[in-house]
């Protein structure tokens, strides 16, 4: 079976009106089904712009952009592209549209004019996956920050997308909430969901199989995540999480082999002890 890329960008350029330098100035990127790509970059590197191009919220000014083989420049492709690629933004408050949890999740499928029974099924499945099943009758605005973020994810999942683009979607969570959110995302990925995870936090990339670094609107690094944390990240201006500092020191002394995942449990298990 031929495996066509989910996203295929060639020479993608995008400028916001009135801004002198382009947000994206020639991005080449191909993402295959089932990949989990961490898209790293500083503020203003163009990562949120790229996210919006992924589901045709923005259209490139120059270059070619195909989503699941569909050209984003053809208007007739846009509805299907938006169904296939779900975007979850930074601030969940911006994405909650209904006052009751289950009604909020149903909003997307209802817009697709699906039969009632199918809507029900998707809403229940999405609430189950995000751990909100017990809260489906709760008022959306009574949820905690972490629960709202999961609600935004549930709304995206109810579209049953092929790919999920998460734009700093864990920003509102405490460390524990962040860990459990990433675990749920991980389950989706093991079931074949293609993921683009936009973040500036190095400690969130340990789950990703591939890292892409954007700098001034261009791809500055692209490769396997284990190669990235073996050194190249040091040439970028990212805050080094303690796990990575630990991994770097342990590896330098030969205490753990190169390529160990820099998570505490993996590091401990790689020691000779």
């Amino acid at each position: 079976m031929e495996r066509a890329p989910v996203f295929s960008f060639r020479g993608v350029v995008y400028s916001y009106g009135g801004s002198c330098s382009p947000a994206l100035s020639g991005v080449d990127l191909e993402i295959m089904p089932g990949e989990w790509v961490a898209l790293l970059g500083a503020n203003g590197s163009g990562k949120s712009t790229l996210a919006k191009i992924c589901n045709a919220l923005l259209l490139p000014a120059q270059g070619d952009c195909f989503v699941l083989g569909m050209d984003v420049s053809a208007p007739e492709n846009i509805p299907l592209i938006r169904q296939s690629v779900a975007l979850v933004f930074q601030n969940p408050e911006d994405q909650i549209v209904a006052s009751i949890v289950e009604e909020d999740v149903a909003f997307g499928p209802e817009n697709l004019r699906l039969p009632q029974a199918e809507i029900r099924r998707r809403v229940d499945a999405a609430l189950e996956l995000t751990g909100l099943a017990d809260m489906k009758r709760r008022g959306s605005y009574t949820l905690s920050g972490g629960q709202k973020q999961r609600l935004a994810l549930a709304g995206a999942l109810a579209l049953e997308p092929r790919a999920l683009v998460l734009d700093e979607s864990t920003s509102m969570l405490d460390p524990e909430g962040r860990a459990s959110f990433l675990e749920r995302i991980g389950e989706l990925n093991t079931h074949g969901m293609t993921m683009i995870q936009i973040t500036h936090r190095m400690d969130e990339i340990f789950f990703a199989s591939r890292v892409v670094v954007l700098q001034s609107g261009r791809v500055a690094w692209d490769g396997e995540s284990s190669d990235f944390w073996d050194g190249p990240y040091l040439s970028f201006d990212f805050e080094e999480p303690p796990e990575l500092a630990l991994y770097r020191e342990l590896k330098a002394r030969g205490f753990v082999p190169s390529g160990t995942i820099p998570r505490v449990d993996d590091l401990l298990e790689s020691l000779w002890l």
């Binding site: 460390p175 524990e176 805050e239 303690p242 630990l246 342990l250 205490f255 505490v264 020691l271 000779w272």
Partner: protein, 282 residues
Amino acid sequence: MAIAAEDVFYSYNAGTPAEHAALEGVSFSVERGERVSIVGHTGSGKSTLAQHLNLLLFPRSGSVSIDGVSSKPGSPDARELRRKVGLVFQYPETQFFAETARDEIRFAPSNWGMRGDDLDACVDEAADAAGIEPSLLDSNPFSMSGGQRRRVAIASVIAMKPDYLVLDEPTAGLDAAGVRGLERILSDIRARGLAVVQVTHDLESALAHSDRILVLERGRAVASGTPEEIAVFLADNPVQGLLMPPTARFAMGLRSRGIDVSVTSGVPELVSALEKAERPDE
């Protein structure tokens, strides 16, 4: 000289259907010159406890005494006692109103009638304690970085010359450099003889910088002790919303493998503990 809270119970909206118990029998004390952290998840009662320490709230039952004196709502000595305890709220810079940092810091002492050289000296001293460059004093706080604004807010509380400084989530919203800067300033303030009480959900910061830690969970004190004792406790008894920092988890892992290392170790200490350990010949 200490603040001592004993068996404090407190409920919001007491006597109404919306009554919500925030503290259920919490005891806590802090002596001058100590640095103590109160940690817990959102809703654990830590901010409620902080507000008891400067008598903004009074317990429904139990007691709070400051330097051995306890007080009741509305009693005249509450005001005197409250002066001993400076409280820095969460996101204090949202309450700024003055056009320069200097005016912001001098507001409280000048309200209390301080004038002239005394007032100037008080402002300079507070700014120095909070790590504010003199050149910054005439800047507008609204044009400052997040870390600088937080320091101005702390300076304006220190200008009241408290013996105890209570800070509610002082590092919230700061970037990593801002957090490190603030940690240094809090150490300096404590070195000046003040007690520093920090309310936080950042266990990493609490473990690294406290003499003692109180852990709250749903309004109850579940543990109290040195950072070492608290890390060991939390490794066996996870508390909702408190995640052990990676270095502490690694240290616990080393200990279970027979390497003696402090739970509050940083990366260099962890690595050197491993270097000292016997490594079998390959």
